[in-house]
């Protein structure tokens, strides 16, 4: 699936891209599928099985797409975290406004 980018540099991963938009669309649909799917499955109604299966597939897709990007973004950000923490503590103590 070359349309989905799976290899990221730290700098690239900080940007908002279509991979994020896909997660924003699939995520609420997965939640909707879990809500109605679990309830209807417990009542042994067939639309419940379909909704639940769709929710599971969407969940898999979301994390398959997001994981490489989040890994790269986390690694990139952790290198800067110490410096940012110092800055926020300065603001907290009114050393810098």
């Amino acid at each position: 699936m070359t349309w989905i980018k799976r290899e990221w540099t730290g700098e690239e991963a900080q940007e908002w891209t279509k991979e994020d938009v896909i997660a924003w669309i699939l995520s609420p649909l997965a939640y909707l599928g879990f809500t109605a799917g679990v309830a209807l499955t417990l009542l042994a109604k067939w639309p419940g099985y379909i909704l639940l299966a769709l929710a599971i597939v969407f969940t898999f897709l979301i994390f398959w797409i997001q994981r490489p990007k989040l890994d790269a973004a986390s690694e990139e950000y952790e290198t800067k975290q110490k410096e940012y923490l110092k800055e926020t503590e300065k603001m907290q103590r009114w050393e810098e406004i």
Binding site: S27, P28, Y31, T88
Partner: protein, 544 residues
């Protein structure tokens, strides 16, 4: 009143003892620093804050109001609990931005996003408001546990508070967020097991899926088993209500603070050890919440076919507890578990105590973080030592606890209406501004403050004052939501556009650190011009 066997009491004592003891074990870690007391040192793997999100949002009040809406709307009432969907988007949107800011609290974030006196005003206001809301939340937990203790043992309000809320405060005061999150972990797992067990028993007692469906059919209420049976299609819940919820939840995922649960989640986001862990915890915890909702809904529907004549919530004249629809899910446990096996009732009550502990502990610690970090340290004693700040956290925890006693006393029997007012209506006018502050560089602190001030007044006028003189009376809660959304915009948008934007220097610094999405073009260009961010290089397909 129910009779507990010796085995029941053993289960309850063991579980309560274990929860408090485990949380107390983390005393040494929590006293190291403010960061440990409020964020567990910012080093948690995703599954710990995720279970904490789930455990926190499984409160004693939740099955009460949930039973009320399922009795009224059938499975379509599940959409009342669907607001958790905002987390599914936030996990890959605002959670990342907030995690990058490293703010302890949303109030602190305001001073990173905005500048000057206005930002300080917003920080002071938000911290006070949050402390109040945490007092309020623990207050309604007190009201809910009172309803249960009164039903079970005939206890008065003060006794249920003393036994079940003060005991939580012991471990929160001692072990801070470390205690909260570790206790939440065991409570979350235990409570999930009990919810599954009780729900399965409820469904089975009602004759299984086939029995429930045939009973509903014979009552002429088969629509109750359809989550999409909206009023327009023969059900009870208006479709416009569902669409409002879906819309509000989705856009809230792009903002910060649009929903009251954001503040709880924000603490968990910052306690996760990496950006990835914060995203995962934000997605997984609420996913468990909505699955739990579905389990509850079907079990409550099962109880409905067994006891269809329970009375709906009525704030003006609350029904006696044994006739209240709001007690439906609890009644499955109280009425049927003792018939299944000796000791199961004790197991169930232990889980209810766990549900109460997890929610109360979170809000005691969260409220204390605003009082300590944003009010005490920032405005009173900026040079306070870490030891003093930890003590500040402990004293603040006790302040929240004391305040919650009085709020719980006030709202004892009106949980559902209070909950809908505070979580929906009272936030309506700030819903969009809390998103604009993330997505639009031009939105300034004057607009944000104007929205809050206007909303506080408008919410009371639209919901309470005007209906009392027969103007805008009879509106449903979702209609009030839209009216407040629109009225508030008429105030904060002109205020924003007629006043100056935040200083570019401040916005650039915020942008480089937090990397927000939306309309930040001019700030992005400035950051690139200063060499702080690499320009986006586009090739043919738009791929970098």
């Amino acid at each position: 009143m129910v009779d507990l066997t010796f085995l029941d009491m053993i289960w309850i004592a063991l579980f309560v003892g274990l929860m408090i003891a485990l949380a107390l074990l983390f005393y040494r870690l929590s006293k190291r620093s403010q960061s440990d007391f409020f964020l567990a040192g910012r080093g948690l793997p995703w599954w710990l804050p995720a279970t904490s999100v789930y455990a926190t949002h499984t409160g004693t009040d939740t099955p009460i109001w949930y039973s009320g809406v399922i009795y009224q709307y059938g499975l379509a009432g599940m959409w009342y609990g669907f607001f958790a969907t905002w987390c599914s988007i936030s996990a890959f949107a605002s959670a990342k931005i907030f995690r990058r800011s490293l703010s302890y609290t949303q109030a602190e974030w305001q001073t990173l996003r905005f500048s000057g006196l206005g930002a300080e005003l917003s920080r002071g206001w938000l911290s006070g408001w949050r402390a109040f809301m945490d007092i309020f939340t623990v207050g309604w937990m007190n009201a809910a546990i009172y309803m249960i203790c009164n039903y079970l043992f005939g206890w008065p309000f003060w006794l249920s508070f003393l036994v079940f809320t003060v005991s939580v405060a012991i471990y929160v005061t001692t072990s801070g967020y470390w205690g909260v999150v570790m206790a939440d972990f065991q409570q979350g797992i235990f409570v999930l097991i009990v919810i599954v067990l009780v729900s399965v028993i409820g469904i089975s007692v009602a004759g299984g899926p086939a029995g429930i469906l045939s009973s509903l059919e014979s009552m002429g209420k088969e629509w109750m088993a359809n989550p999409f049976a909206f009023k327009e299609f023969g059900g009870g819940l208006p479709l416009a209500w569902f669409l409002t919820m879906f819309f509000a939840a989705i856009i809230a995922g792009f903002g910060m603070g649009s929903h009251t649960d954001w503040y709880t989640e924000a603490q968990r986001i910052q306690s996760a050890k990496t950006l990835k862990d914060s995203s995962y915890c934000m997605w997984a915890g609420p996913a468990l919440v909505i699955i739990r909702n579905a389990l509850w809904a079907v079990a409550i529907l099962a109880f409905f076919v067994l006891s269809p004549n329970l009375l709906p919530p009525n704030p003006a004249n609350p029904p006696p507890l044994h006739q209240a629809a709001e007690m439906a899910w609890y009644r499955i446990g109280f009425d049927y578990l003792p018939e299944v096996s000796a000791g199961l009732l004790g197991f169930f009550i232990a889980a209810i105590i766990g549900i109460h502990f997890s929610t109360v502990s979170t809000h005691l610690n969260l409220g204390a973080s605003y009082l300590t970090r944003d009010l005490y340290q920032h405005y009173i004693n900026p040079e306070a030592s870490e030891r003093r700040l930890v003590w500040g956290g402990r004293i603040s925890t006790l302040i929240i606890l004391a305040g919650s006693f009085f709020f719980g006393w006030m709202m004892k029997a009106e949980i559902t209406s209070w909950l809908i007012f505070t979580m929906w209506i009272m936030m309506a006018g700030t819903w969009i501004p809390n998103i604009l502050q993330v997505v639009w560089w031009r939105f300034n602190i004057k607009g944000w403050l104007a929205a809050w001030i206007a909303n506080m007044g408008l919410a009371w006028i639209v919901v309470w004052i005007l209906p009392s003189v027969n103007i805008l009376s009879g509106l449903l809660d979702y209609q009030q939501f839209w009216i407040l959304l629109a009225l508030s915009a008429l105030i904060y948008l002109p205020v924003t556009l007629l006043t100056k934007p935040e200083p570019t220097e401040h916005l650039v610094r915020f942008y480089v650190m937090a990397r927000p999405y939306g309309w930040w073009g001019p700030i992005r260009k400035e950051a690139e011009r200063r060499g702080l961010i690499k320009p986006i290089e586009k090739t043919k397909g738009g791929q970098k």
